[in-house]
Symmetry: C2
Subunit: 212 residues, 2 copies
DNA sequence: CACCGATCCAAACATACGTACAATTAAAAC
DNA sequence: GTTTTAATTGTACGTATGTTTGGATCGGTG
């Protein structure tokens, strides 16, 4: 890819992670040390630049997610997949891919954006992911009725997003007791927490069915 | 309070919930059917207006949280409080207070704002809440080591915030199978999910301590 | 009525923003 | 070496933003 195009992308995602999504083109081009007009030359508009920033990391993450889920289904060709492994396949790629910490913050911000924007990237990048994973989760937690499973998925995504955006605060609040760079531990915490949550809702579904 | 001041607050919070936090004063004053300059007359600046919008609902919510926690501590004067009840005292007021649905969406948006803004309202409104609840949670989950408890709290808040902002999507995704107005069910799901997550992390802490 | 403080209003201000365009330079093709 | 294409630059346009200002309007008080 063109060099200045890369410089723009890098500067854009860094600034957007630091200061929020609303960064002026002038701030971006100044930080990238390129001319203002370069943005509208290489990308058609600011909106397209935003799309490009999203896609650059979203695509590899989702490919990795599918790849991990595929591997899982090879390991368990018949039965349902272990709940923890499904959740890990969904959560780990966001934290593990080579991109730096600021990309994770940026990603967390995306999930909290105005509806219109998020709907766009949802339709473009997330629909197949959600379909595959909710199918896998349905087989892994057969006792969970559909609405409750959607709630559980919603809670899991929320925990992930909030962690992406605000985990830095935990380091401050704990006076350094929280080891932030230990992403393995973070993922493990997230997976255990969410899996237990899924099972708790499944448990209640069963009880309700028994009492009905 | 002055009538136009109220109209401005109402319009501001409604528009900010619908379209995101970044709404122009002109949009707000038009919707409120007041003059543009009224904002800078009744509030000093747009920033102060934002603070007022936050405070109007944040304060009652936090009072109710403390009130529920106080009641709990009266019921269990000696021993630790039940985990579910603590979480419910923290989570329920956000969903239950009389304000309409758009206020919940707005609240979800707040928690995802640029660092500087969120730090301000954190210091002003949230510090005592976090202190009291984390103390209560510490007694309720004695086996949980401090960093893991912070993670669990972080996940819980994330699940709550994401639910506030995006629960409307669940209704769409499920073709109506998710009963959104049933806030009691939502809170119950959140409480069960989070409590199970806390216990799962506590469980692992114990195992690690045993193996050490 | 005269006065006054509070509220409201229309208009203007300065600034910041995304975009468009013509001119210039660099690179590539022939 | 000339022509063509791609990339960069400086600049200007139109619009939207938050804020300010000076005057109008209204209700109550002496």
């Amino acid at each position: 890819m063109n060099e200045t195009k890369l410089k723009i992308l890098d500067a854009a995602e860094r600034l957007m992670a630091q200061q929020g999504i609303d960064v002026s083109l002038r701030a971006i081009t100044t930080a990238a040390d390129v001319n203002l007009a370069a943005v509208n030359y290489h990308f058609h508009s600011k909106d397209s630049l935003l799309d490009a920033v999203v896609a650059r990391h979203m695509c590899p993450i989702n490919e990795r997610r599918i790849q991990m889920l595929d591997a899982l289904e090879r390991d368990y060709p018949n039965g349902p997949l272990p709940l923890e492994d499904i959740l890990r396949a969904f959560l780990a790629p966001v934290f593990e891919l080579e991109h730096g910490e600021h990309v994770r913050v940026l990603f967390g911000r995306f999930y909290s954006m105005p509806d219109e924007f998020m709907e766009r990237i949802y339709k473009r990048h997330l629909t197949p992911i959600v379909n595959r994973f909710s199918a896998a989760l349905a087989r892994a937690t057969p006792g969970l009725q559909i609405p409750d499973r959607l709630w559980a998925m919603n809670f899991t995504v929320g925990a992930m997003v909030h962690t992406l955006t605000w985990s830095r605060l935990l380091g401050v609040m704990s006076n350094g007791a929280v080891d932030l760079p230990d992403t393995g531990r973070v993922i493990d915490n997230l997976v255990r927490f969410s899996a237990a949550g899924f099972r708790a809702l499944e448990q209640r579904s069963k009880e309700e069915r028994r009492n009905a």
